[in-house]
Assembly symmetry: C2
Homo-oligomer: 237 residues x 2
């Protein structure tokens, strides 16, 4: 579709929602913990409530009001808040809370992602550009078989998307120029920020990321460089 | 051999010399450039002379006299010095010098390394802990088929081995404790530094890293946790 540049030298990917199904993944792990305690919490509501604390937690860091902490720590802080709100703080031991926090390391890739990434990897560098830490991205990759060449993103940048540093420092770590790199995401806001940093952009809709009644990011919000329905299509653009 | 800990959660590897044959790799690429210019430089002497500038360049950063610059830049500075010493500065164009500097991205793995790393990867996280940059490690991995889970090392730490930060920050980026991680190297000095940081240690001799007349690092200098002759042996310790 794009004729401005040659084939990209790297594709960097949003991960939560774009590559992996965080909502069902977190719900599946949480359900096991609820079952052990005979709780009838709705695991999808729990996942949604946990995720709802994600952007506010990162906002403090993006705004400069807090130094960088990896997402694993923010997830744990958010979990503690959520358990408190649900009056479940005493229900789980410290060790159980640590294990529950590792739900974010056990998220299934969307169908076709592993095959698609392997195809793209034959032609360019592939790496996550996620708000997840290197430790989290590494474990997610081992869990789901994601064949990354390397890991860039928030920890490399010491700041969270959509702060421009997250894109600029990721591109620099790859030894490339912004226009040699494609940001791939299911979230239009991620692509808006990447485009402002000079990256190429690719949108893939994930209409069930937030469940059956999702209303956002069902379609590209503007004319991105590429719009695909499977990751593997990026191997033949 | 070690019975102190359970099976390690991660193995981090020195790369230049331990995983890849930098001397023959750099010599092979350099030879092509010399042939094009009808030069009769000895490519192995050239590789040795280039590499001899490696530690002094990093010393300035390790000592705090210079901020962190990725190794790609140090390699290029060292190349320019070397070409000047050989009265070859004008022989190569700027583009040719950039290409020649990429010799360090085209280093063949020692026999058995790829298979060995794949075996270890089934049991633990594997990552380079090299003085090479993320960009350089990524390209080396694609060149040689090195199946890293992620990349840690100098760029993560913003300092060079054997500075303790290079080990401590790499272990932290993996979300692990030092005693859960094994540093694997063909250089005893690397293992001395890793051990001081609390990591486990594994030695593998590379008796031809520096050519047929190598005199250093032919044997382990002390009782490391593991001594292997093939990387794959680490999968069954």
């Amino acid at each position: 579709m794009s004729i401005t540049y040659g084939y990209p030298k790297a594709f960097i990917f949003d991960v939560f929602g774009t590559i992996v199904d965080w909502r069902n993944g977190v719900a599946n792990v949480s359900q096991k913990f609820f079952d052990e305690k005979n709780l009838d919490e709705n695991p999808h509501s729990f996942a949604d409530a946990w995720r709802a604390k994600y952007q506010p937690a990162m906002d403090k860091i993006r705004s400069g009001n807090r130094g960088y902490f990896p997402l694993d720590i923010l997830h744990r802080e958010n979990l503690d808040q959520l358990l408190s709100q649900l009056d479940l703080t005493e229900t789980f031991s410290e060790e159980e809370k640590q294990d529950l926090n590792r739900a974010w390391e056990q998220l299934p890739p969307w169908p076709g992602c592993v095959e698609g990434l392997n195809a793209v990897k034959q032609k360019a560098i592939i790496a996550p550009c996620s708000n997840g830490s290197i430790a989290l991205m590494t474990r997610l990759a081992k869990f789901g078989g994601l064949p990354w060449d390397c890991i860039v993103g928030a920890e490399i940048a010491q700041n969270y998307k959509p702060h421009p540093n997250a894109y600029h420092k990721s591109v620099a770590a790859l030894g490339l120029q912004p226009n040699e790199v494609v940001m791939v995401a299911a979230h239009n806001s991620d692509l808006v920020a990447a485009k402002e940093c000079g990256l190429q952009t690719a949108f893939i809709a994930r209409p069930e990321e937030h469940g059956a009644r999702q209303t956002i990011d069902l379609e590209p919000s503007e004319k991105w460089d590429y719009v695909v329905t499977e990751i593997g299509e990026l191997a033949s653009i």
